[in-house]
């Protein structure tokens, strides 16, 4: 049986928090509940963006989803890296 919307949201947040890479494709969320239709998962992912739990991250040609704090950490690390030799 498909998860309820709240359960699905919780599973998706957990996935985005624990995945090895902070950026996920919408498809990576399908595994959170194989019984929910992909278009529904996409809608829930977008709801999570509206709620601030996820954010969009663009690679230029593909748009991915990520937890905002993980991206902030990654960017801070990149900045530190860039200024190491200043």
């Amino acid at each position: 049986m498909a998860l309820s919307k709240e359960e699905l949201k919780a599973a998706m947040i957990e996935k985005a928090t624990k995945a090895p890479k902070p950026q996920l494709y919408v498809k990576d969320f399908y595994k959170c509940d194989p019984d929910t239709k992909p278009r529904m998962i996409k809608n829930v992912a977008n709801e999570l963006v509206k709620e601030g739990e996820l954010m969009f991250w663009s690679s230029g040609s593909t748009t991915m989803y990520a937890r905002p704090d993980r991206i902030k950490n990654e960017e801070a690390r990149d900045d530190a890296e860039e200024h190491k030799n200043d």
């Binding site: 919408v26 498809k27 992909p38 278009r39 969009f56 663009s58 040609s61 593909t62 991915m64 991206i71």
Partner: protein, 426 residues
């Protein structure tokens, strides 16, 4: 911002044609960041590598598309283009703009961006090139509130649908391309603005097989106008062409004297399926063999017209060469009615059949055409509930195996192994 020496780019100002280098230099007089575009491009020409990098958290609130993040990888050398994001604007169907709209957009772009535009990008959008992250939200606010102008699609979204000018100006249009394009743009707002798919997905609409928006080469879902019945022939006008009363091709080749019109050489001999002939001074067409290439109609528009039972052919899966080779779309549904009265229900149904399947089966960054290639056309046709016809076959088979489906075999593939072992000892 200082000017940079650009000897390599300066070469592109020579010759009689317009030069983007001259345009950029002129623009740099009021938008000094344009000097840095020229500087960075000169460096790229020297290094033979791009100095742009993509990606990041660029966007406007609530939208997961429409802005393409672009950064310089040499920002200290060229601070004017450290951030230089691209903004895509959804173009109107058929690209009809009022001049005051274009002026309004340009004024906003002078205010918030580099002033450089690209009309239009290959997806169809009006493209605004080069602004900073801080300017994105104010620009978006003014675009939507003053100009009533939305952004287009990017990333793994549905890309801004685009169409030919169709019935608004073209007598050959077999359906109202603008109406369908506009309807689907409104219907799929969410898919345009937020990532929905394994990769990008494009709709393009052409009113006839001349395919002026190159839908067959550039879109995942190409809707190309066609007709079911016979090409309409006005035999008196055919005679007119033969007697030289009307110029062929609507006079398009009249800049040179190509000699007298020769219907045998220029029309009948060029019909790809050889389905035309003359009987006395009457032109005959075997319409069951006509592949709707439009050639004869293009040459003699007064004499020949598409039939009256009009609709569209749906071709699926074109793409540019980025990951694999370039690929044309495959003809999937030979004829589909295009009906505005039921809000194009038939078209929507086909689109969603593809999406439901591709979203599940497609791999990340795989266009639907590549998914079809991977699983094979027969599987895709089954998903689309289309019976295969000879036109689906690209070449004679070279694979000696025949695959049967469960339902095609008497008794199916179910068997009693114990019963089988009794006769075939292990």
């Amino acid at each position: 911002m200082p000017k940079h020496d650009t000897p390599l780019l300066d070469e592109l100002e020579k010759g009689p044609w317009p030069s983007f280098v001259s345009d950029l230099k002129r623009q740099a007089e009021t938008k000094p960041e344009c000097w840095d575009i020229l500087g960075q491009l000169e460096l790229s020409y020297k290094d033979r590598i791009t100095h742009w990098k993509h990606g990041g958290i660029v966007g406007v609130f609530g939208y997961g598309g429409g802005i393409v993040g672009r950064y310089s990888d040499v920002p200290k050398q060229f601070p004017g283009v450290a951030h230089f994001h691209t903004v895509r604007l959804a173009q109107p169907s058929g690209m009809y703009y009022a001049t005051n709209k274009l002026r309004g957009i340009c004024d906003l772009w002078e205010k918030y961006g580099s002033g450089m535009t690209n009309m239009h990008g290959s997806t169809g959008d009006a493209v605004l090139l080069g602004t900073t992250t801080e300017n994105l939200e104010p620009l978006f606010y003014d675009l939507t509130h003053i100009e009533n102008q939305d952004l287009g699609g990017s990333g793994s979204n549905l890309r801004t649908p685009s169409c030919c000018l169709g019935k608004s100006r073209c007598e050959w249009s077999c359906y109202d391309t603008q109406a369908l394009c506009h309807h689907l743009t409104m219907h799929y707002q969410d898919e345009i603005h937020r990532p929905a798919f394994p990769y990008k997905f494009k709709f393009k609409f052409s009113g006839c097989p001349n395919d002026c928006v190159a839908a067959i080469a550039r879109s995942d879902f190409a809707v190309i106008g066609t007709w079911k019945d016979d090409i309409r022939i006005d035999q008196a006008a055919v005679k007119g062409y033969v007697n030289g009363e009307f110029p062929s091709n609507g006079g398009a080749h009249s800049d040179k004297d190509w000699g007298a019109f020769d219907i045998q050489k220029e029309v009948i001999g060029l019909c790809p399926t050889e389905c035309m002939w003359m009987e006395g001074d009457e032109l005959k067409i075997d319409n069951s063999e006509c592949t709707r290439c439009m050639h004869c109609i293009n040459v003699m528009p007064r004499a020949l017209r598409p039939g009256v039972e009009q609709g569209a052919t749906i071709c699926v899966g074109a793409k540019a060469p980025i990951l694999d080779g370039a690929q044309f779309a495959t003809m999937t549904i030979p004829f589909l009615e295009i009906n505005a009265d039921n809000e194009f229900e038939e078209v929507v149904e086909q689109i969603e059949k593809i999406w439901d399947w591709w979203m599940e089966v497609g791999k990340n960054r795989e266009r639907v055409g590549e998914t079809i290639q991977r699983v094979g056309l027969p599987t895709f046709l089954k998903i689309m509930e289309v019976e295969p016809i000879p036109q689906h076959v690209k070449e004679p088979r070279s694979n000696p195996y025949v695959f049967w489906q469960d339902e095609e075999v008497p008794g199916g593939f179910e068997r009693d192994v114990r019963e089988f072992r009794k006769r075939h000892a292990q």
